[in-house]
């Protein structure tokens, strides 16, 4: 259960990290090869986020209807279908699997 205090503390910590990230770094002073790392960083984290949101529940590995939905999303992305079609197909697949199983 969230309280005003908790929300206040979360807001400070989350925005604080965003601001530090956005302002602290001066890429001109960063060696060139580290630019590539910085560019690859969001991909790496997002790949991890996708896997965790698809395959974990309450911090344990779980295989359920979400995997089917994300697999369909991958298929749609591979066929270069529009983003909106992709996310709706994913949700419909997961909902259908949940309704049937």
């Amino acid at each position: 259960m969230l309280t005003w205090t908790v929300v206040g503390l979360l807001a400070i910590g989350v925005y604080g990290q965003r601001v530090i990230g956005a302002t602290a770094l001066d890429t001109d002073r960063l060696p060139r090869r580290w630019h590539a790392v910085l560019t690859a960083l969001p991909l790496a984290i997002i790949a991890a986020v996708i896997a965790l949101q698809t395959l974990t529940s309450q911090r344990t590995l779980t295989v359920d209807a979400r995997l089917a939905g994300v697999a369909v999303a991958g298929l749609c992305a591979w066929r270069r279908l529009p983003l909106l079609v992709t996310v709706l197909a994913a949700a419909a697949t997961t909902a259908a699997v949940r309704a049937l199983v």
Binding site: V14, L52, R59, L84
Partner: protein, 238 residues
Amino acid sequence: MASEERLKGNLLGPDPNRLVLSRGDTATLAVTYFTAGLAVSVLHVTQGTDPLVVIAAAFIVNSATSTLAFAAVATTGGSTVAGVMSGWLVATRFGLFAAALGPRLWPQRWRRAVAAHMAFDPSVALALREHTDDQARQAFVAAGLWLCVPWWTSAVVGALIADQLGDTDALGFDVILPALLLAIVWPQLRERSGQVVAVTAVMLALGLVGFTPGGVPELAGGGAALLVLLRPFRTEPC
């Protein structure tokens, strides 16, 4: 005339006048974050949080993963301190995103600081796909607004009508965000270096689930970005 313009476009790289995000892209962001906002608000309200607090959290914390991480710790009997730490930890990725994109946005740090509130997974990923800094900035601002405004709206709606909405997971809402993220990073997955980074990140993250606090698997996955330092996966000459 038309061919001359096309030639100019080719010589100068991507057409600087083209819209960085298509209408379809912005509609998808709006739908995704509207549904996510509904689902998150309903979850918090059904767990007993005051609807007003849920609404405030959407605006000022602006990170569903942080409030959900707190709720996950709290519902499994963890302390408030542990819950807040967990909420901060899962948001560390937003700081890293802001660091990756910040220098491409504006030279003035105060502008970056204001815009940093909109540093989300898709807004950063869409901005980093652009070739020029101008386009990256446009993509980031457009994507940020097209996801924040629907997300705040639906957080308010969801908090007020949570009792009537029922189980949003039955509609597959919980798969919309990972599906969107997968589609956004897909172009990078067509390249060898992108595949290696992504697969390594997934294995690192899933390998740490269960015995590390929430947020750690995501950050460990981020460590896979270091692979681009290795010779076979270098994306640019150093």
